[in-house]
C-alpha cells in the first residue's frame, strides 16, 4: 500500500515538474538554435522524453521491485 502511494506521489511530482517546464513562462526562455537545430524543438522533445523515461522507470521498476521485495520478506519469516 505504502509502495503504491509512493509511486503515485512520484508521478504527481513529475506532473508538477512537467507542467512547469513545458509551459510559459519557462518555455519562453528557450530560443535560437543549438548545433543548427531550433533550440525550442530540442528543448520540448528533450523534456518530453525525459518525463516519459522517468514515468517508465517509476511505473515499471516500482511494480516488479515491490513484488520481489515482498516475496523475499515472506521468505525471511521464520
Amino acid at each position: 500500500m505504502l509502495r503504491r502511494t509512493a509511486k503515485r506521489d512520484r508521478l504527481v511530482g513529475l506532473f508538477i515538474a512537467g507542467a512547469v517546464l513545458l509551459n510559459p513562462p519557462i518555455l519562453n526562455l528557450v530560443g535560437g538554435t543549438l548545433f543548427g537545430w531550433p533550440a525550442l524543438y530540442l528543448y520540448l522533445f528533450g523534456v518530453w522524453a525525459a518525463l516519459i523515461a522517468a514515468t517508465a522507470l517509476i511505473v515499471e521498476r516500482g511494480g516488479s521491485g515491490s513484488a520481489g521485495r515482498e516475496r523475499t520478506e515472506d521468505g525471511d519469516q521464520p
Binding site: 503504491r4 509511486k7 503515485r8 508521478l11 504527481v12 513529475l14 506532473f15 512537467g18 507542467a19 513545458l22 509551459n23 510559459p24 513562462p25 518555455l27 519562453n28 526562455l29 528557450v30 530560443g31 535560437g32 538554435t33 548545433f35 543548427g36 537545430w37 531550433p38 533550440a39 525550442l40 524543438y41 520540448l44 522533445f45 518530453w48 522524453a49 518525463l51 516519459i52 523515461a53 514515468t55 517508465a56 511505473v59 515499471e60 511494480g63
Partner: protein, 914 residues
C-alpha cells in the same frame, strides 16, 4: 493517379482492417490473444491522433512553428495524473458497468436527464470534429486524384465528391465494427485490434514521410534546419521571444489534458474497452511515448514543405503534396492511407461511442417510456438496439458531412478540432468534481454543464457559422445589437486571446462557477448523498446493493435481460455469477438485492444505466429503505469517527502499556543495581574473613618460633573468622532455599512459640552477656501454639535478638522480648533502646543486603541477610513482620503469627513434636 485506383486501394485497406478485426474476435489461436494485451490497449488509445495530427498538425506547424505541440503534451501530463484520476474513473466505471461518458455523469448524479444533456452536447460538439475528418480525406483524395493543382472539392460534381464517398464508406465500416452485434459491457475486442493496427500504420506512414523529407529531399535534418534558418520568416518562429507563448499555449495544454478522457472516443477506448486495470500502468508511459514518436517528424515535414512548395499550397495537405510534387506518387498513396487510417479509426470509434450514448441515454429511455409501443413486453430487442445504433451512426455522419459542406475550407483543421475540444471540456468539472467531491449535486452539474455549453456556443460555435456567412457579419465585429461588451470574441472587453483560448476561459469559468455555486447553495437528497458516497469512496461500491433492497424472481430478470442480450449470453452470464456466489443456477428462483443489481448492471452494459434502471424497476419489488440502514451507509463520516475512536482507544492502550513498561524498566534497573550491590557485598563479606584466615594462617606457617600465647590468639581469630564465614554461607543458603520454596512452609507442625523463645534466648544469652545488654523476657501467653517449622521460627527470634544486641548501646542497653496474644494471632515483639530506624527506612530494612547508614564510611555489622530471611520465613507461616519506633527512641520489631486452630489434631502432633 486515377480516382478508381485510389478508391480501390482505400477500400481494400479498410477491408483488410475489418478482416483483422473479424479474425481477432473469432479465431482461437495466437491472434485472439492480442485482444486483451496492454500493447493493444495502449495503441488503441492512440485513436487520439486523428487526421488532425496527420494533416492538421503539419499544417499548423508550417504556419506557426511548435504551437501544435500542447495538444500532445496535455495528454502526457494527464497520464502522469493517471494513477489518481484515470484509475478512479476506470474503477467507478467498471463497478457500475458504465458504457459512455454520458452514462458516467448520469449514474453519478442519478439523473437520466443529465445523461441525455451530455449526449446532446457531445453530438453537437463532435459534429465539427467528424466533419474535419471527412474534409481531410476529401482534400487528400482531391490532391491525389489530380496530380496537378488540386481542384477545390467544393467545385466538383456531387458524385466525384471524395468526402461523400468517404462518409458512406466510413459509415458502413463503423456499422460493421461498432454495431454488428450486442456485446455485454460494450466491449469490441475486434475493433480494438483494428484500431491498434491503424495506429501502427499511421505512425509508420508519417515516419516514412518524415525520413523521406529528411534524407530524400534534404541531406539530413541538420541540412533541413540550417536551410530553414536562413529564411527569415521561418527562423523568426524559433528566435528567442519572451512573450511568444502565453495563455494560448496554457489553454491548449489544459484542453488536451481534459479531452484525453472527456472525448467520447477516448472514454470508449480508455475506460469502456479496458479489460484489465493493470493495462493502464503500461499505458502511462507507452501512450505518451507514442505521441512523442508520431510528432517527432511533424516539424521537419512542415518546414520542408515551407522550403520546397509554393506559398499558396494548402498547409493542411503538405504531407501529400510533398511526395507528389517531388515525383513520388507511391509515397503519396502511403501518406494518403496513413491519413485515412487516422480518420477512419477516429470516425469509427467516435460514431460507435456516440451511437451508444444516443441509443442508451436518449432514444431507449424515451421509447421505453412510451407505453403505446409496448417495448417492455417485446421478446427480443437486440435487433431494435442495433438498428437504433446504426441509425444514429448514419445521422451523426450525415450531420458531419453537411457541416463540412457548409463550413468546409473556412477554417484550418486544427481550429475546427479545438472547437470540439472546448465543447467536451465542459464535462470535466462534473466528472472530476463528481468523483472527488461528495458535495457535488445534480443541480450543480446541470447548471455547470448547461452554462458552460451556452458560453461555448456563443463564443465559438455561432461565430463559426457567422464567419461562414450564415449570419450577419456584424454579430462578431460589433456584438449583438451593437453592444460591444457582448462581442463573442471579446466578451466583456477581454481581448488579446485567440478565440479558442477566449472561449475556454469564459466557458470553463462559467461552468465551474455554476457547478460549485449551485452545489454549495443547494441541498442533496438522501439518494444523491448515497450516490455521492458510493462514487467518491470507490471501496464501497459493493454496498450499492444494500441501499436498494430489491427482490425479484430470477425468471423475470432472465427474460428481461435475454431480450436485450440474447438468451445464450444472458444464461452464460448468470451461470458465471451464480457459480461465483455458490448458487445453483438451475434452482435459484428468488433473486436477492445483489442478484438484482447484477442483472441491472448486465443490462446497463448494453443499454445504459438510465434505461436499465427503468426496466428493472418495472419488475422488482422495491422496499423502502430503512432509515437506520440508510444512515449507516450514508453517514460515512460516522464510520470514520468510529475508526478514529478505536484508533484513539488503541493509542491509549499503547500509552498505558508504555507506562507499564517504563515502570517495569525502572524496577528492573533497581533490581539490577541491587544485584550489583549484592555481588559487591557478598564479595566483601566473603573476602574479609577469607583474607584474615589466610593472613593469619600464613603467619603461623612462616613463624614457627612464635610464642604459644600469640599462636593461640591467632588460631582463635582463624576459628572465629571461619565461623563467620560458615554463618554467612549458611545464611545465603537459607535465603536461597526459602526463596526457592516460595510461600509453602517447608515443614508444618504445631509449634509452641513460648518454647521457641526460651530456646532462642538461652542460645543468645552469651551474646547479650558479651555486649553487656540486658534482656528482659515477658512471656504472657504460654503455651502459644502456631502451625509452622520450629527451627525456622527459632532462627527468626535469634535474628531479632541478634539485631537488638547489636544495635543497643553497650552497657546501657536494654532489650525486651515480649510474647502475647492479640485476637487470633500471637505477637512477638523485640524492643531495643538503640538509635531506632527512620520511618522512611522501615520498609527497606527487610530487603536483602540492606544496611542502614552510610555503607561507605561505616563497616557493615553483618551481611544484611538476617531480616530478609526472617521476613520470608514469617511470610511462609502466613504472618507478618514489621518495625515501629519505640517510645524511648529505639526500634520495635513485631512478628504476628496466626494461632493454630484450637480443635486441630494439634495435641497429638505436639506429643510427637521435638
Amino acid at each position: 493517379m486515377s480516382q478508381q485506383a485510389i478508391i480501390i486501394a482505400a477500400v481494400a485497406y479498410l477491408a483488410l482492417l475489418f478482416a483483422v478485426a473479424y479474425l481477432a474476435e473469432h479465431s482461437t489461436g495466437r491472434f485472439s490473444r492480442l485482444t486483451g494485451s496492454s500493447l493493444v490497449y495502449t495503441l488503441s488509445l492512440a485513436v487520439y491522433c486523428s487526421s488532425w495530427t496527420f494533416n492538421g498538425g503539419v499544417g499548423r506547424a508550417s504556419l506557426s512553428g511548435l504551437d501544435f505541440l500542447p495538444i500532445y503534451l496535455g495528454p502526457t501530463l494527464a497520464f502522469l495524473l493517471g494513477p489518481v484520476v484515470i484509475r478512479k474513473v476506470l474503477r467507478v466505471s467498471q463497478a457500475n458497468r458504465i458504457t459512455s461518458i454520458a452514462d458516467l455523469i448520469g449514474a453519478r448524479f442519478n439523473s437520466g436527464g443529465l445523461a441525455a444533456l451530455v449526449t446532446v452536447i457531445a453530438v453537437i460538439g463532435l459534429v465539427p470534429y467528424i466533419a474535419l475528418q471527412l474534409k481531410s480525406i476529401s482534400i487528400g483524395f482531391a490532391a491525389l486524384s489530380s496530380s496537378s493543382e488540386a481542384a477545390h472539392p467544393m467545385m466538383q460534381p456531387l458524385l466525384a465528391d471524395g468526402a461523400l464517398w468517404a462518409a458512406i464508406v466510413l459509415t458502413v465500416f463503423a456499422m460493421l465494427f461498432g454495431s454488428r452485434s450486442i456485446h455485454p459491457g460494450e466491449h469490441h475486442p475486434g475493433m480494438m485490434v483494428a484500431i491498434a493496427l491503424e495506429s501502427i500504420l499511421k505512425f509508420v506512414c508519417l515516419t516514412a514521410i518524415g525520413l523521406f523529407v529528411g534524407y530524400g529531399l534534404f541531406h539530413g535534418f541538420g541540412d533541413l534546419f540550417s536551410q530553414a534558418m536562413e529564411r527569415p520568416e521561418i527562423s523568426a518562429l524559433f528566435e528567442y521571444a519572451p512573450d511568444r507563448y502565453g495563455y494560448n499555449w496554457i489553454a491548449m495544454t489544459l484542453l488536451a489534458m481534459v479531452s484525453v478522457f472527456c472525448l467520447p472516443r477516448q472514454f470508449q477506448v480508455m475506460v469502456v474497452e479496458n479489460v484489465d486495470e493493470r493495462h493502464l500502468n503500461r499505458a502511462l508511459w507507452l501512450f505518451p511515448l507514442y505521441l512523442l514518436a508520431i510528432n517527432l517528424f511533424v516539424l521537419p515535414i512542415a518546414i520542408g514543405g515551407r522550403l520546397l512548395l509554393p506559398v499558396d499550397t494548402d498547409p493542411d495537405n503538405l504531407v501529400l503534396t510533398l511526395p507528389l510534387s517531388t515525383g513520388q506518387p507511391f509515397l503519396a498513396l502511403i501518406a494518403f492511407l496513413g491519413g485515412l487510417s487516422a480518420s477512419a479509426s477516429m470516425v469509427v470509434v467516435e460514431t460507435t461511442a456516440l451511437s451508444v450514448m444516443v441509443c442508451n441515454d436518449v432514444v431507449m429511455p424515451a421509447l421505453l417510456r412510451v407505453k403505446a409501443l409496448g417495448l417492455a413486453r417485446k421478446s427480443d430487442l437486440t435487433s431494435l438496439l442495433l438498428w437504433v445504433r446504426r441509425a444514429v451512426m448514419i445521422a451523426v455522419m450525415a450531420l458531419g458531412y453537411f457541416y463540412m459542406r457548409h463550413d468546409s475550407a473556412q477554417f484550418a483543421l486544427v481550429s475546427i478540432g479545438l472547437m470540439s475540444f472546448v465543447a467536451v471540456a465542459q464535462f470535466a468539472p462534473a466528472i472530476v468534481g463528481g468523483l472527488f467531491w461528495r458535495g457535488a449535486t445534480k443541480a450543480g452539474a446541470f447548471a455547470g454543464i448547461s452554462v458552460g455549453v451556452l458560453v461555448w456556443a456563443y463564443t465559438l460555435l455561432f461565430p463559426s457559422f457567422d464567419r461562414s456567412g450564415a449570419l450577419s457579419i456584424n454579430f462578431v465585429v460589433d456584438g449583438p445589437l451593437g453592444i460591444a461588451l457582448l462581442k463573442p470574441y471579446a466578451l466583456f472587453g477581454l481581448t488579446g486571446l485567440d478565440p479558442v483560448t477566449h472561449s475556454t476561459f469564459w466557458s470553463l469559468l462559467a461552468n465551474i462557477g455554476a457547478f460549485l455555486g449551485v452545489s454549495l447553495a443547494g441541498r442533496q437528497t438522501p439518494i444523491e448523498q448515497a450516490r455521492a458516497t458510493l462514487f467518491v469512496d470507490t471501496e464501497n461500491l459493493d454496498e450499492v446493493a444494500q441501499i436498494w433492497r430489491r427482490t425479484a424472481r430470477v425468471p423475470d430478470l432472465m427474460s428481461l435481460v435475454s431480450r436485450f442480450l440474447g438468451r445464450e449470453k444472458a444464461a452464460a452470464a448468470f451461470t458465471g455469477w451464480a457459480h461465483a456466489r455458490g448458487l445453483d443456477p438451475a434452482t435459484a428462483v428468488q433473486a436477492d438485492a445483489e442478484t438484482v443489481l447484477f442483472y441491472e448492471r448486465l443490462l446497463a452494459g448494453v443499454i445504459g444505466a438510465a434505461s436499465a434502471r427503468v426496466l428493472v424497476s418495472a419488475i422488482v419489488e422495491e422496499e423502502q429503505l430503512g432509515v437506520d440502514e440508510m444512515m449507516r451507509i450514508l453517514d460515512e463520516t460516522s464510520r470514520i469517527i468510529e475508526a478514529n475512536r478505536q484508533l484513539e482507544d488503541k493509542s491509549r492502550a499503547l500509552e498505558m502499556a508504555t507506562a507499564e513498561l517504563t515502570e517495569a524498566n525502572a524496577q528492573l534497573q533497581v533490581l539490577d543495581r541491587m544485584k550489583d550491590d549484592f555481588v559487591a557485598t557478598v564479595n566483601h563479606e566473603l573476602r574479609t574473613p577469607l583474607a584474615s584466615i589466610r593472613a593469619f594462617s600464613e603467619i603461623l606457617r612462616d613463624h614457627t618460633d612464635m610464642p604459644d600465647t600469640e599462636r593461640n590468639e591467632f588460631l582463635r581469630i582463624v576459628v572465629t573468622e571461619s565461623e563467620r564465614l560458615t554463618r554467612l554461607i549458611n545464611q545465603l543458603l537459607d535465603l536461597s532455599k526459602i526463596e526457592a520454596s516460595g510461600a509453602i512452609p517447608a515443614r508444618s507442625a504445631v509449634v509452641d512459640l513460648a518454647g521457641v523463645i526460651r530456646e532462642s534466648t538461652s542460645a543468645m544469652y552469651q551474646v547479650f552477656a558479651t555486649s553487656e545488654v540486658e534482656l528482659a523476657l515477658r512471656i504472657e501467653a504460654d503455651p502459644a501454639l502456631v502451625m509452622g517449622d520450629h527451627d525456622r521460627l527459632v532462627q527468626v527470634v535469634i535474628n531479632l535478638l541478634g539485631n537488638a544486641a547489636k544495635f543497643s548501646p553497650a552497657r546501657a542497653g536494654l532489650a525486651t522480648l515480649r510474647l502475647c496474644r492479640s485476637g487470633g494471632n500471637f505477637e512477638i515483639s523485640v524492643t531495643d533502646n538503640g538509635p531506632g530506624i527512620r520511618a522512611a527506612d522501615r520498609e527497606i530494612v527487610f530487603e536483602r543486603f540492606r544496611q542502614l547508614g552510610d555503607t561507605m564510611s561505616e563497616k557493615p555489622q553483618g551481611a544484611g541477610l538476617g531480616l530478609a530471611i526472617s521476613q520470608r520465613i514469617v511470610a511462609q507461616h502466613g504472618g507478618r513482620i514489621w518495625v515501629e519506633g519505640a517510645r524511648g527512641g529505639g526500634a520495635v520489631f513485631r512478628v504476628r503469627l496466626p494461632a493454630a486452630p484450637a480443635s486441630s489434631p494439634a495435641e497429638k502432633t505436639l506429643a510427637t513434636a521435638p
